[in-house]
């Protein structure tokens, strides 16, 4: 009989290690929170945002991999979250790329110097 069960995952509901990883993860998260706070008080200029986002990403990885057990899971479960994260990154990068490459038009709303538009303007309105 065919099965959709991934053999690597069989009985993973029973696999339970000690509580140590959770405690370590918790302490790491507290330390990273302190680091975020510290870095924000020492004005790092343009790097401030980069540092803050890097620390937030590191904290998220700790939560996802250890608290949410993603390091024990394989396949589609990992893929689902990774893909949504990638799409968020694409969305934000696309919007920022648009905003940062805009420039004021030299002569907005002025058609007089464009030859074919000038001809249009000269033509009598039917």
């Amino acid at each position: 009989m065919t099965t959709n069960v991934n053999p690597k995952q069989k009985h993973d509901a029973h696999v339970e290690h000690s509580a140590l990883p959770y405690v370590v993860a918790w302490l790491a998260l507290l330390a990273l929170t302190g680091l975020t706070y510290w870095s924000s008080r020492h004005h790092l200029g343009d790097f401030g945002l980069l540092v803050a986002l890097s620390i937030a990403t590191a904290k998220t990885l700790v939560v996802i991999l250890i608290f949410m057990h993603l390091r024990e899971h394989r396949g589609a479960v990992r893929l689902a979250f990774a893909i949504s994260s990638i799409f968020v990154a694409i969305l934000i990068c696309g919007v920022l790329a648009d905003l940062s490459t805009r420039f004021p038009l030299a002569r907005p709303h002025d058609n007089t110097t464009v030859p074919h538009r000038a001809a249009e303007r000269a033509a009598p309105i039917p």
Binding site: Y22, Y37, T60
Partner: protein
């Protein structure tokens, strides 16, 4: 039933060859059912991330357009309250992970206590958030056209508080929903529900709570620590 003869006395009742009898009819085995429910939850969490992504994109666009105003407005938020809330959510995330751990070790009392601790910290988070909101309402740091706070002025300043209230408000609704789920799980744990049958409700509820934590992990530096 032949299978019951090989059940050992000290193992939990469901950890034996009869495990698959707990599976719903349309699943071949219990493992398949557990994986299906887990994948469904992760897909749902993916859509939750995309829901919040809209607000993060708006934040990125307006912060890019009004960098100085956003920095000024951010400095007006109470960083110490935000930090306490961050620590509360991180610790509650840890406690719910410990609750799941205890439940897999068949420890009923520990599971219940960890869940109660999670609930208390979630409540603390909302109470602190409530005080912050009350302060903002009082001084007029409100979204959109209702903004009338004299101390911070500049182009786009009301946009910062629009995003602040929308993002923390949507997150706060998620905290409320999470507390509802956690309350239900606490009652189940106290009644020993997780001892009797293999069940994914605690695992999936914990996943939801961790996501609430992850969203806040990004909101905190972006709003409070510009």
């Amino acid at each position: 039933m032949e299978d019951s003869e090989i059940t050992t006395v000290d193992a939990p009742a469901y950890v034996d060859r009869t495990r698959n009898e707990f599976a719903a009819e349309h699943f071949e085995s219990l493992d398949q059912q557990i994986q299906a429910s887990r994948l469904g939850m992760w897909l749902f969490l993916g859509t939750e991330v995309l829901l919040f992504a809209g607000l993060f994109v708006a934040y990125a666009a307006y912060r890019h357009t009004y960098p100085q105003t956003f920095a000024d407005a951010s400095r007006h938020l109470d960083v110490s309250l935000g930090t306490i809330n961050t620590l509360a959510l991180i610790t509650s995330s840890f406690l719910v992970a410990m609750a799941l751990h205890a439940s897999r070790k068949q420890k009923r009392l520990q599971t219940t206590l960890y869940l109660v601790g999670t609930l208390l910290l979630a409540g603390l988070f909302l109470v602190i958030k409530g005080f912050e909101y009350a302060h903002k309402f009082h001084e007029g740091a409100l979204p959109g056209k209702f903004y009338h706070f004299e101390a911070v002025q500049g182009p786009g300043v009301n946009l910062f508080f629009t995003i602040y209230f929308l993002a923390t408000g949507l997150h706060g609704i998620h905290v409320l929903v999470g507390m509802g789920i956690l309350t239900w799980l606490t009652v189940r744990a106290a009644r020993g529900y997780f001892l009797r049958a293999p069940d994914t409700s605690l695992e999936l509820g914990a996943l939801y709570w961790h996501l609430v934590d992850v969203i806040w992990i990004f909101l905190f530096p972006l709003l409070y620590l510009i």
